[in-house]
Amino acid sequence: MYRYDEFDARFVRERVREFRAQVERRLDGSLTEDEFKPLRLQNGLYLQLHAYMLRIAIPYGTLSSRQLRQLALIGDRYDRGYGHFTTRQNLQFNWPKLKDVPDILDLLADVEMHAIQTSGNCIRNVTADHFAGVAADEVEDPRPTAELIRQWSSLHPEFSFLPRKFKIAVTGAEHDRAAIKAHDIGLRIRRHPATGETGYEVIVGGGLGRTPMIGKVAREFLPKADLLAYLEAIMRVYNLEGRRDNKFKARVKILVHEIGEQEFRRRVEAEFAALDGPSVNADPEEVKRIADYFAPPPYEELPEQSVKLSIARAAHRDFERFVETNVSGHRVPGYVAVTISLKPIGGVPGDATSEQMRIIAELAERHSFGEIRVTHMQNLVLPHVRKDELFALWEALDAAELATANAGLVTDIISCPGLDYCSLATARSIPIAQSLSRRFADGARQREIGPLGIKISGCINACGHHHIGNIGILGLEKNGAEYYQLTLGGDATEKAALGERLGPGLAAEEVPDAVEKIVGVYLEKRAPGEEFIATYRRIGIAPFRQAFEPVLEGAQRGVA
């Protein structure tokens, strides 16, 4: 894992001190509320429905056990004993007091963390594949790139007052687990087909929200050394040309769409050519310095198979099910990556209590070199677990009610906080997630259905990524009543696709029946071994619409 050097440490402390002074200047009237707002947002502090919300950056979703313990402590001391992991691999506290926030930031700085740029019209916390450094299908670890971008984008003097927020995601694998095509910039590390040199495929202009779009390729291959200069060129074009007249049209995806991919690419390349690249880019030794922090942990040399594991799997049915769903392959023989689901049946997706955080921190120390990952699916991962210790880990997780065997299944639901917390929301999302989770609670049935991602957003801003859910659910409001629109066929992976609307909106209580019908059609029509998304692609939306009709007829249609 990356460790702060003296410069990183001082930088973060200075930002805390600056923010402390900004809070004081807001309270004494030096700063108006309008002036203070972007300053607090750039430090992750939102004003929500009931209280402030502090969003803490977990850069590229990597946490140490020490950091997780500190988050638990903050949750106990300044919140209500829990935190909420988000779809951008961050952690939110929902009940801090403004006067306490600088102290919380100091506690974060103690463990090399911060809340810099987790909100506001700036370059947000960079996300990456949660299996980085572990996945077998990886060309190169994306974390050094993400860390370089974290540093470069931090308090960037030029790009702190952009037209709108700006999100960057990085993957180094063939299979995209970071949804890079749904980001303002997505980077995929790849090898040059001719030279074998590593570089980036640069995707620009993806994004969800009111106008969802899949990102376009801006550069097939960018040499690694040119990364920062190229990013600067993209950002300058966006900062100067992006629309500022309408916040719903201010993301870079709209600029790319309005002037066209080719023209956008031409402007970026012209700006890139006008830059003196070597004076902007990090030198190779700096890139190496960062990369060295991500050297593999001291793995043991182990056989690929573990007899101990095989025996435990055969003896314990619940453990076997956990292994089938929550355990992923590892590039090192004898190791696996383990997903800890934060989606217990009927629970709030992504929530973890301080007590759970401490248990997971301890288990990470015992079984995963003290390392934890946060996924954009709002789960946690222990990335380096020995196969022969897997059963012991599972027993400990099970005892703490953290062994829900549903990773990737229908109850592994992504949901934004919705109207229960968020001032932007138009409808509740958590209760919808909970009712669906209860409806599909039966483990055998979930396994029979197989991989199926449900994603729920409580408004068009799409924090719950509903557009790219296999089943997407969008909560809206009309005449004071909440209603929900369903979309089918969204895909967050390298085959990125936006979902298609199934039909008119539904009342909250009708949603589980509708999802039940959709699942029914899939089970009836699927070919052997075919996942939901593949069946959908093959048969299209029509059969699902047909099955949806009775749900509609059964209800009073007050909404469009």
Binding site: F7, E14, P38, P157, E271
Partner: protein, 180 residues
């Protein structure tokens, strides 16, 4: 309006000329539209020429006409509109060496951004200075003493600091390796 740079308030040697106003004596800042027609006259009489750009100006269009311009003033219609930062940076990246001035309701906390993008000074409304006296501008500027971005601001970036310390330790190693 009040003029500030990193050391505090300063006197303004330039007169800002409005769109329809007559051309005064001395150093002037002309709107972009009057630059071509009247710039030569200002230079001919030996005065300094400044240009005021809206933040919608296109870098490639204005860059060729700034040859003899000693000062470029860039409009910030609101503190939240960061286009002026990119215009300044873009001009510096293209090699502009004259004075760069940010004009508009920037706040004390943005002095760092302005200097980091290549501005030398900020011309801000008195109403902002009344709420945020000069002491706040200098305090805000001193709050953050480090930056990661190479070429942003005057001091070395963190990346360049690291490079310098790598080179220093490399030289120490060499010195040790050489026979006395």
């Amino acid at each position: 309006m009040a003029l500030l740079d990193e050391s505090g308030l300063k006197a303004d040697g330039f007169t800002r000329v409005a769109e329809g106003a007559s051309l005064p004596r001395g150093d002037v800042i002309l709107p972009l539209g009057r630059l071509l027609a009247e710039g030569r006259e200002v230079l001919a009489r030996g005065d300094l020429l400044g240009a005021h750009l809206p933040n919608t100006a296109k870098l490639d269009e204005v860059w060729p006409v700034l040859d003899d311009v000693a000062l470029v003033s860039i409009e910030f219609p609101s503190f939240a509109d960061g286009r002026g930062f990119s215009l300044a940076r873009g001009l510096r990246r293209r090699g502009y060496r004259g004075i760069l001035r940010a004009f508009g309701p920037l706040i004390a906390d943005q002095m760092r951004h302005a200097l980091g993008c290549g501005f030398d000074e900020v011309e801000a409304p008195e109403t902002v200075i009344a709420r945020q006296p000069i002491s706040q501008w200098s305090a805000a500027l001193q709050a953050i003493t480090l930056h990661y971005q190479r070429g942003a601001g005057k001091g070395l970036s963190i990346l360049d600091h690291r490079r310098a310390s790598r080179e220093a330790s490399h030289e120490r190693r060499l010195a040790h390796a050489l026979p006395a």
